[in-house]
């Protein structure tokens, strides 16, 4: 999906407006990135505690990935 936003958090909000159900899969009810979800920005993995505030370029590419979890 292509969305606008100054930060990853902004971009996610744009996505959640189009797909409200996605919010609870990526963020918990307090708005925190879920523990076992990780975000890559332009090929670089971001730490969960700073990911949502990370600034975007006009052509930034974001991957929201499932971190390895359980067996």
């Amino acid at each position: 999906m292509e969305v606008d936003g100054a930060t990853i958090g902004d971009a996610l909000v744009s996505i959640f407006l189009k797909c409200p159900q996605a919010r609870g899969y990526v963020l918990d009810e307090q708005g925190v990135l879920r523990k076992h979800v990780c975000i890559f920005l332009d090929g670089e993995r971001l730490a969960n505690d700073v990911a949502l505030a990370a600034p975007l370029r006009k052509t930034s590419e974001i991957y929201v990935m499932q971190a390895l979890s359980g067996g």
């Binding site: 609870g24 307090q30 708005g31 879920r34 076992h36 979800v37």
Partner: protein, 354 residues
């Protein structure tokens, strides 16, 4: 008698049906995803399944057609600004209560949630979350305290009793506006002596209610079994054989003197005593017990039955029991004898007739 059972496991929900070939898997759902608890609401025949995705957190699904189709409904959630900013880790208990369509959910952390629209929306029961004693609660089984038993009084929907590990037994008579501890007679052998009788640190592993005599409650506690005949105002300790430790208890729906417990060795060794899976049954209110063994593993068994791993149907004759090593047993004679399912199941979190 019930001929369908819901088995919640680490890798999906399994619907078992009783056929001429015995209890067999009729369908499976949410493959690979942990299902922490399921509920069949007899009032409208809806089935609820609480999922706990490894990556995406807890979710709740409902089926209105016996499991053929599922719809994801809202997940119980702590509201923004809620004291301590908690995040729901899992739905640990589900119960039907109040009007048809009203569902109660217990969480980890120990929030109690209510839906009046079959899960379309949820509201935290603030008054229980805000009791001052919550500061004393701590995790039992999981890192944080949780609500695992929710009893809705069939005579009065405003009367609800919940049990929390580790946070005691709480009762409301006004649909959740005010809550009171109900732990007189319980004790905590795992605490320093000065706190042994503190109410808000008691660890009732599971609490069950006699449907026909709702003042009769049973508890499998961390360090003993207890029974109350006055709705939890006073608890009396029982003296079962094999072991006082365990997680599961089921109450006979019509006979206030009958209940079943599944003993385990100890909190330090959560496995059957001597490698034998057994069930303790009382018919006389806990004055005496029989240890039931027919059809259950008699050696080399390491099955632990979790707190939601035992259920009895509305007749009091059929029982289902599931273990952490995927053992699943059914009884049609009140536990006198058991038959094991041949399915090699994932670890079982919860079983319920439906």
């Amino acid at each position: 008698m019930a001929d369908r059972a819901l088995v919640s496991t680490r890798k999906g929900l399994f619907v078992f049906r009783l056929t001429k070939q015995g209890w067999t898997i009729a369908s499976s759902h949410f493959g690979g995803t942990p299902v922490t608890i399921a509920l069949h609401d007899a009032r409208d025949r809806a089935i609820y399944a609480a999922l706990n995705h490894g990556h995406f957190g807890p979710k709740l699904h409902r089926s209105d057609d016996g499991g053929a189709n599922w719809v994801e409904v809202a997940t119980p959630a702590f509201p923004p600004g809620c004291e301590a900013n908690p995040t729901l880790k899992q739905v640990w208990s589900l119960a039907a209560g109040g009007q048809p369509g009203t569902i109660l959910a217990g969480g980890i952390p120990a929030g109690l949630f209510r839906s009046d629209d079959k899960g379309a929306s949820w509201k935290l029961v603030d008054a229980l979350w805000n009791v001052p004693e919550r500061a004393c609660w701590f995790g039992g089984g999981y890192d944080e305290a949780g609500v695992h038993s929710i009893l809705s009084d069939p005579r009065d929907a405003k009367h609800i009793t919940v049990a929390i590990s580790c946070g005691g037994v709480w009762e409301t008579k006004d649909a959740g506006a005010k809550w009171h501890l109900r732990t007189e007679g319980l004790y905590a052998a795992y605490m320093p002596p000065e706190q042994k009788f503190d109410s808000a640190i008691q660890d009732p592993h599971r609490m069950a209610q006699c449907g026909a005599d709702p003042d009769v409650l049973w508890i499998q506690h961390h360090n003993g079994m207890f029974r109350s005949v006055n709705g939890g105002a006073q608890w009396s300790e029982l003296s079962p054989p094999v072991s006082k430790f365990g997680f599961a208890v089921a109450a006979h729906p019509n006979d206030a003197g009958t209940a079943w417990f599944v003993p385990a060795l100890s909190d330090e060794r959560r496995e059957p005593v001597d490698g034998r899976v057994v069930v303790n049954r009382t018919h006389d209110g806990g004055k005496s017990f029989e240890t039931l063994t027919q059809g259950l593993p008699s050696e080399d068994a390491y099955d632990l039955v979790y707190r939601h791993g035992l259920d009895v149907d509305e007749s009091g004759q059929r029982l289902v029991m599931g273990s952490t090593t995927g053992g699943l047993w059914f009884s049609s004679d009140s536990g006198d004898s058991w038959n094991i399912s041949q399915a090699r199941l994932p670890p079982i979190y919860a079983v319920t007739f439906a």
